[in-house]
Amino acid sequence: MGAVTRQLYLANSMAAQKYITASCIISNNQVQLNGEQGFAGDNLGIDQLLLAVYQHFHFSYPKFHKMDNLSKLGWLAAELLLKDFDKTYYHAEQIGTVLANANSSLDMDLRYQDSIKDVPSPSLFVYTLPNIVAGEICIRHHFKGENAFFVLPKFDAGFIKQQVDYLLDHNILQACICGWIDVLGQDYEAKLYLIEKVKKENAVEFAVESLI
C-alpha cells in the first residue's frame, strides 16, 4: 500500500466531479466512437461483424481469436474506447470495470453444453462466466483495480452510475470502464464508457442521461 493510496483513503470521501471521457457503442452492424460512426457493416452475422471490426481497425492480438463472442465484443469495445487513454497517468490498481448484461454467459453456456456429449473442453468452459470479459480487458490493458459484473434484466444507467460513483467518490478507483456487454446468438450490444475525474477535450459530465 503506497502512501498516496493511504492518503486518499484518509481524505474525506467527497462526491467528485466525474466525466465521460470516451464512449464506444457496438450494435446493429455499427461502431459508434465518441458519438461518431467508426464502422458500418451490412447485415453481417455476429461472427463476421466481430472479425470485420477487428480487421477494420487493424488490431493485432492473437488471443482475440480464442475468445468467445462476449469477450470479443467487450475486448473490441474496450480497445476502441481506450485508444486515446493514457493509462500511465494512473496506477494499475486505480483503474477498474463495472459491467453488466442480461444474458450472463448464456451464449457460451449453450455452446459448452453442446460440447459435453463429446469431450468437454476447458477452453470453452472458462468462458461460461460473464466476468471473463472483464478479465480479458484487464489483461489486455493491465488494469488491476476493482472489477464487478452484474446481471440485470435490462441496461440500467442509474444503477451503473451509482456503482461507479461509489468507487470514484471513495477513491477506490480513479478511472472506470463501465457499461453493458451482452451477447446471445446473433443478438449483441456493447455500450462502454470511460469515466474519469479529469476533464478532457470533448468530455461530458457523468450523468444518467449521458449514458444512452
Binding site: M1, T5, R6, Y9, N12, S13, M14, A15, A92, E93, G96, A102, N103, S104, L106, D109, L110, Y112, Q113, I116, V119, P120, S121, P122, F125, V126, T128, L129, P130, N131, I132, A134, G135, E136, C138, I139, H141, H142, F143, K144, G145, E146, N147, A148, F149, F150, V151, L152, P153, D156, F159, Q162, D165, Y166, D169, H170, I172, L184
Partner: protein, 382 residues
Amino acid sequence: MIVQNPGSIPDVYIVGDNILSPIGSTTTENFEALKQGISGVKAHHKLGISSENIIASLFENDGNISIDKNYKKFENLLISSISKAKDSLAVDYINDKTVLIVSSTKGNISLLETEEHTPELNQRVALHTSAQLVADHFGLTNQPIVISNACISGVMAILTGMRLLQSGQYENAIVTGADVISKFVCSGFKSFQALSSEVCKPFDKDRNGLNLGEGAGTVILSIHKQNPDNVKVSGGAVSNDANHISGPSRTGEELGFAIKTALLNSGITANDVGYISAHGTATNYNDEMEAKAITLAGLQNVPLNSLKAYYGHTLGAAGLIESIIAIRSIKEGYIVPSLGYTENGVSTPVNVTTLLTQKKIKHALKTASGFGGCNAAIVFSK
C-alpha cells in the same frame, strides 16, 4: 449524490444469517458440525452429474430443501435459506428500504440439460429471472441485484450490500447466494483436471485438487443493530490479477493488494486480524498464490483455515457460507480446524489451524479468488 462524511457513515451489522448445506440447515447446525469435524464431502454416484463417482458435498435427494413447484432447485435453495435467516429475527427487515442481492455463478444452468431449448428457456435460466422470483416471494419491491463474478461473487455481494447501506441508498440488504452442482459444472471442472479424487487438502503438500459442493448462504445486513453481539462488516476490497483468465497470479500481489486495502478500508492493521477464512480450494495454484498474498499482507502468522474439505467449493455460495462461519467464529470465540491438512505444501507457509481452537477474535478476514483473475477480501469485526 449524497456527500460522504466519514463521521456520518453508518455501521453495517449482520443481524441474521443462515447456512443451508448437506451438513446442516441452520448456521448453528453447521457450526456445531464443523466443531465436531463433520464433513459433507463424500463419494457420490449420481449419473445426472457424472458417469463416474464424484467426491463432492451434495444434498441427498434434495431432502432438506422445501420444494415449491413454481421454483427450480436454485430458487428453492435461496428461498429456504432466506426464510431460515429471517425466521430467527424478532424484527422483520423486509420493507421499502430493503434490497435483495443474489450471488451465483450458474444459477439454473442445469435446465439446459433437462428442458427443451426455447427462447422462453433462455429467459427462465437468466439469473435476473431467479432474483425477481425470490424478491416477489418475499414481497421485496426494490429491483434485485445479481452479482456473477465467478468465485468471489459471495464476498463481493456482501461488500456491495455494505456499500449500498453506507451510502444511504437502503437500510437493509438481504444478501443470498447458491449454486447447484450439475453435469455442466462438474464436467467443466473435470476438464480442467481440477477435481480431487479424495476429500480435498487445502494448503497441504499432497493436495491434488478441489471438491465441488452444493449449498446456500444468506446474511441479512442492516444499519439497525438488533443484538449487542451483532458483528459488523467493516470493509473490503476487490482486485484483478490482469494475468490469466483461468490461472491465478504467480506473485499473489493482487490478492495481497485487496487484503491490504480491505484492512485500510476497515481502519485496522495486520496486527488486528485474529483469524483468516481462506479461499483454500486445494488446487496447487490457488493455495500457493493465496499463501503468497497473505504473507505479502503480513498475515502469515494469523490462524487460518479453509472450509473446502467440509463443504467443497460451493461457488457462488462459498463467500457467503464461509463468511457466516467467520462471523460465528467471532461470536463464539472458536476457530474450527482446517480439515485435510497435515504438512505445509506452499512456498510461503501460513498458519493453518488443525485443532478446534478457542480464541477471542475482534477482526476476521475472509478472502476469495476466481476465474477471470478476480480477488476479494472482506473484514468482519466485533
